[in-house]
Every structure is written in structure tokens, then in C-alpha cells.
Symmetry: C2
Subunit: 384 residues, 2 copies
């Protein structure tokens, strides 16, 4: 299912020989219309990979015929030659589809600072084009994996019978905005590119942007939303927004659970904030405390490390009015010792840390993982 769950889409995932492992490493997603409306959200990193620079330019037109994605190389920090490689990839896709390169988005993921093996990649585009099918969604999702241990796919049915489908990859460098990831979402509903853009920005701000596995922001993050209009349904915009958000949230959850070396999925729930931005900032800052992430890994409800992190933010709060609960036990009340910390059950994989700033009605939840020796191993044993 994945990106081919909605009508009007074909996809393929093949092994082009880009990855040393020999596994699938090139995916192609094609929108057969009748509509080609599309929108994209990209990394906020100022060092952007060539495919991000290219796809941003393409998306300014609000239309996409196809998306070509490769794992095995990020094509980031590769200079004008790297941009030329991306351009050539889009031209090749346009050629095999007899369409315009100006409506072909390109996504790459893998090691930064190395050129892509273009001969293999361009031959792979031919091969992928030959295998495009309405059942190709799973193979495409498989082909964009890097250190992901599983493919990430999702789909939901909307009111009136339209579908939203999606695939994503990402297992490290998960940080806003966005998480380090590639994501393609498709729908057979009929919407304008402006509508898609508004819906996608809101959906990603509530989901992928609130995922922070290791605080590291990628050069390649891309989330695309393509609408074929093939179901002939003009959905209610709010209802459509909810469906896209559900798909994004589902994929974000899958990314979190598969994050490199993680043994815990931690929800940092900030309540009582003076504004939503305060809640997000506090959650983000706490989610980046290596000391706290180690403590959670050790199943230690060390709320002092939560307060130490909250204290580094400029959110509205008074230290003596902070309350912290871990898995429902209010271990810190009024900035000091609260209920007995030995009552906290730290054994489940899911850990919820609730931080009450006692400063207002606003809330936000940031999702992160623990810091483990396995994370260190995965990110020090080889280049990625």
C-alpha cells in the first residue's frame, strides 16, 4: 500500500547498485493524475543537499509528476557537481516518463560529502521505470531505507472515499525541523497546491517537527505531498488535514520506535505553558539532555535532570512552581521533592515525562528516545 494506496499512483523500488550492500536503493513514485498538485516541506538546515535545493525550486511551481529517491548517498556538500547530478537525475526521469524535469522532485539520503555513482543511478531509473506498478509502494518504501531496520508505511481512508498513503525513512539525525527523514505522502483527493501546502505545513509542525531523537538536524529532510485527484473527491479541508496529520503521526511514531539504538520511546509532555512556543521549547530542550536520556535508559526516574534542563530555557515559569511526573507519579512538586520516586514503574518501553510549568493553559508533546551504548556504536562504528 504505502504511496500506492490512493488511486492514480504507481511506484517501484529497485537495486541500482548505489548501496554497497546490494539492497534496494532507488525508488520512483509517479503521479498519473488527472491532477498534479503538490507541496513540500524541507529541512531548515542552512547547509542543504543538492536534491533539497532542486526540489524546493521544482515545488515553487506547485506541481509534481514524479519523485525519484535514492538511499546510499545524500548528495550533500558536493558542490556544483552534486547539483548537476541531481539535475541529471531529474532529466533522466523526465526522459523515461516523456515529461518535464521541472515537475520531478529528487530526494537523496546517506553519507554526506560523496558524489553519487551516476552511471548506476541513471541505469537504475530505467530499471525502476520498467517496474512501475500500482503494487510498487512497498518496494519503494524498502528502497529508501538506510539504517532503518524496517520500512515505514501508512494509509488512511477519508470521508467520501478518498485515500491518503505515505512512506518514510529515518532512523538517526531525527531532529526538527524536520526529523532527518524523507517522506512522500500521496492522495487521490482533489486539492490545489495552496491547500496541500497549508495542510502539510500544519501536519508536519505537529508531528515530524516534534520528534527529536538526537538533536541533530539533517541536510536532506524532505516531506512531499502529491494529489492525483483520481478519486474525484473534494474533501473538507479540515477533515483532510486531520487525515494527513494522522498519516504523518503514524509514520513519525514508526521512525521513533526504530530510532538508532533506542530502547525507550519517551514522550515529553509539557503542560501549563504560557504559550505553545514555550511548551515546544521546553519539551525540545529536555528531549536533548544527554544526561536525562541516559538516566531513562538506566530506568532511573531522575527528575533533577529534567529540572536542570528546564532551567536553561527562557520559557515563562518560576522554579518553585514546577511540577514533574514520570509515568504518572508526581516525583517533583513545587520545584522540590514530591511523591516517592520508588513508585515510578520505569520498565515499560514507553516513558511519559509530564512537566507542569504552572504558567498558563498551553501544551505540547515532544517525542524522543533514550541514549544508549547501541546508539554510540551505530554512529561510531562506520560512516553514515
Amino acid at each position: 500500500m504505502s504511496v500506492t494506496a490512493p488511486l492514480g499512483f504507481r511506484a517501484a523500488g529497485i537495486a541500482a547498485g548505489i548501496k554497497a550492500s546490494g539492497g534496494r536503493d532507488l525508488a520512483l513514485v509517479v503521479n498519473d493524475g488527472p491532477s498534479r498538485a503538490a507541496a513540500g516541506v524541507f529541512t531548515a538546515n542552512r547547509v542543504k543537499a543538492a536534491p533539497v535545493l532542486w526540489s524546493q525550486q521544482v515545488l515553487s511551481g506547485g506541481r509534481l509528476k514524479a519523485v525519484v529517491l535514492n538511499s546510499g548517498g545524500a548528495n550533500a556538500c558536493t558542490g556544483p557537481e552534486g547539483f548537476q547530478d541531481t539535475h541529471a537525475t531529474a532529466e533522466k526521469v523526465a526522459e523515461v516518463l516523456q515529461d518535464s524535469a521541472g515537475e520531478v522532485a529528487v530526494c537523496s539520503t546517506g553519507l554526506i560529502g560523496e558524489r553519487l555513482p551516476m552511471e548506476a543511478l541513471l541505469a537504475g531509473v530505467d530499471q525502476a521505470a520498467g517496474q512501475l506498478s500500482k503494487n510498487g509502494g512497498l518496494a519503494a518504501a524498502d528502497a529508501i531505507r538506510t539504517t532503518d531496520t524496517v520500512s515505514k508505511i501508512s494509509f488512511k481512508r477519508g470521508e467520501g472515499g478518498y485515500m491518503v498513503g505515505g512512506m518514510a525513512k529515518g532512523a538517526g539525525m531525527l531532529a526538527p525541523a524536520l526529523a532527518t527523514m524523507l517522506c512522500v505522502i500521496t492522495t487521490d483527493a482533489d486539492l490545489t497546491s495552496e491547500e496541500l501546502d497549508a495542510v502539510l505545513r500544519r501536519a508536519t509542525s505537529l508531528t515530524f517537527d516534534r520528534l527529536d531523537a538526537d538533536g541533530c538536524m539533517s541536510t536532506n529532510d524532505t516531506v512531499l505531498l502529491l494529489a492525483s485527484g483520481a478519486a474525484g473527491v473534494r474533501p473538507d479541508l479540515e477533515e483532510f488535514g486531520r487525515k494527513v496529520t494522522e498519516v504523518c503521526a503514524d509514520l513519525a511514531r514508526q521512525l521513533l520506535v526504530d530510532a538508532e539504538g533506542a530502547s525507550k520511546a519517551i514522550a515529553i509532555e509539557v503542560i501549563g505553558a504560557a504559550c505553545e512556543q514555550d511548551a515546544v521549547n521546553v519539551g525540545r530542550t529536555v528531549s536533548r539532555s544527554n544526561l536525562l536520556k541516559c538516566a531513562i535508559h538506566g530506568e532511573d526516574p531522575n527528575w533533577g535532570r529534567v529540572l536542570a534542563a528546564v532551567g536553561t530555557t527562557d520559557a515563562v515559569f518560576e522554579a518553585e512552581r514546577l511540577n514533574v511526573a514520570i509515568n504518572g507519579i508526581w516525583v517533583c512538586r513545587g520545584g522540590g521533592v514530591g511523591d516517592d520516586r520508588s513508585k515510578v514503574d520505569m520498565r515499560p518501553r514507553d516513558v511519559t515525562i509530564t512537566i507542569d510549568l504552572s504558567a498558563g493553559p498551553h501544551t505540547a508533546t515532544i517525542h524522543t528516545t533514550d541514549l544508549t551504548a547501541a546508539y554510540v556504536h551505530e554512529n561510531s562504528a562506520y560512516s553514515s
Copy 2:
């Protein structure tokens, strides 16, 4: 030597029974004058431990008779009762010295969120007072250790014959401002508290504030500078500033080398910055990239992770003009692939990453460590 290297100071370090290990855990440093001028710099964390709140108040008077320090408990997030404990500790020191509690600073370090065992601590003050001596500097430096594997001490002789001595502790939560640490610096030169304050702020901004082991800011950081005037020397202020900075740099280096679980000492040297603040911000941001710290641990000169971190800052730079050298090899030039990365020798413990922003003449160096499985173990295996 340590804090008792200059004339006019006595110190002691004893086992009061605060630490479960039974090791030394209480230090007392006394200034016998004739001067009592003093200055202090404290954590920027908004969640401040009781002893920080107390000592900031004391230092507003610009005079210190004594400093009492304990390991085995941070007395942070302990509410009004914790502040009362700090107050009682200062009163006890004043009593044994027949002096004023208003000129006694208190420092604590250890686990956040637990009350101190006051009976043991107050008895310890009596014991320490009985052991005060001009040779007590080493015992005092030993008593403030937590996860530090060695004591940190330093001393330098100034022009005209005065001395500057110091001791410090800190092995985790090393982040500005300041690194998670306690530090007491003494001198027998004769200076006003205003002069000491200016010198200390400048010295810490160039040393401890540029140390960032794990990005976590403590609730207890304190650096104190006490002048007895016993050498009868009024030093040149600039020369005195250099000496204090040298002592701070020496202690900072010792903290870095002893940082929890570290196997590499990494200097992030930022050059070509439009202003000093840009250089500091870029260095700090790069020093906090878990992915980069893992790569350095794995002896992988992964400059892509450097650029990915630089790109998240708001410093003045253009991505295509960034250059990066690792241990002297310019592996990234003009934002792209530079010299052969296989030429980089990653085996030495010291690793220097030079980032040229190509945007101006300013520079700054931030010191950090690699991220290791040992760090994870040390911070997850027990509460600290």
C-alpha cells in the same frame, strides 16, 4: 598547594559521612587576610541550587571569610528547607570561626532533589575546622570530587612574588555557562572585589565557558576568587588577569581530560567568523552534535556531520564558502569535498576540528569530548 599555595589561606578536607562511599566529602577554605575581597560567578541555569542562591547573596557584599563545600549532594530542588540547610551550614562555619555567616559561601555538588544529611554535615564542619592547615589544599581538592577520577589543582606565580592557586571538580554536565563544576581560586595579591570581579568574569568567559562536554548545564556551578592580600603586592591588573586565566585554563583542561567516559579531547576551532559571538555559537553547536561526537569516537573524520551542525546556526556564512580541517587536513573546501580524508590521523587523543566560516577575522575555540558507550554507562547505571 591548590588553594593554599598563596599566603593567608588554610584549608581542610575530611570525610563527614555525606557520601555513601565513606570518602572525603567536606572541604573548608579559610581566608586569614588581611584582606577579604572576593568575587563569584554562578550558573546561568534558572533552576539554581540553594547554595548558589545563598552564595550569590553573600558575594553581593564583595567579601568572603570562608568557603564550605560538600560533595555527596547538590542541595538543588530541595525547596525552602534546602535553603535553610545551606543557611545553617554557613552559620555553623561562622560559629566555629567566630565570624559572620554573611561572609561564608557554600557550595554543594552531587545528586539533585535530595536533602543533605545535616547532622553529619554540621559535625563535619567542626571536624574540618580542627584540621585547617596551610597544607590542607590537596585534601580539600580531594573532598569535592564526585565522579572525578582525580583531583584538579593548579597554581601560578605572578610578577612581584604573589601567587594564584585553585582547585576544581567536575566530570559530567560540563556545559556553559559554566561547566558543571565547583572551583575556588585564591590569591595573596591585594585587589578590590570590583577588580576581582572583572578579572574573574573575563577569565571564566575564556575558559570554563568554552568547555562543553555534554551540553547539560548544572544547577550548582560556582567559581569563587578570594584575595587575602597577605603577599602585600598590588599586581598589574592585566598581568593578574592573565595569571587567573592561566589557572582557569589549566583547571578547565583537567576537567575536560577527566570528563565522564571520554576517550578524545576535541578542540573545535572556529576561524574566519564575522564576530566572536558567531565563532562561539558555531563552536558550541558543533560541540553538541551527538552524531559528530560518535564519529570522532570511532576515529572517523566525518566532516559532513560538522557541516550539518554548522548549518543549524544563525552565524554569518555561505554554505559554499565553508572549509573544514580535521587534524590539519582540509577535508572540506568550499562547502564540498576537499583533500583526501584518508590522510587524517585520528589516532591521537587530541583532535582539532578547524572550521573556517570565510566571513571575517574573528575566532574562538570550544573544547569538548567524544560520546562513548562509557559515558552512557556512567550516566545510566546509577543516579548522579
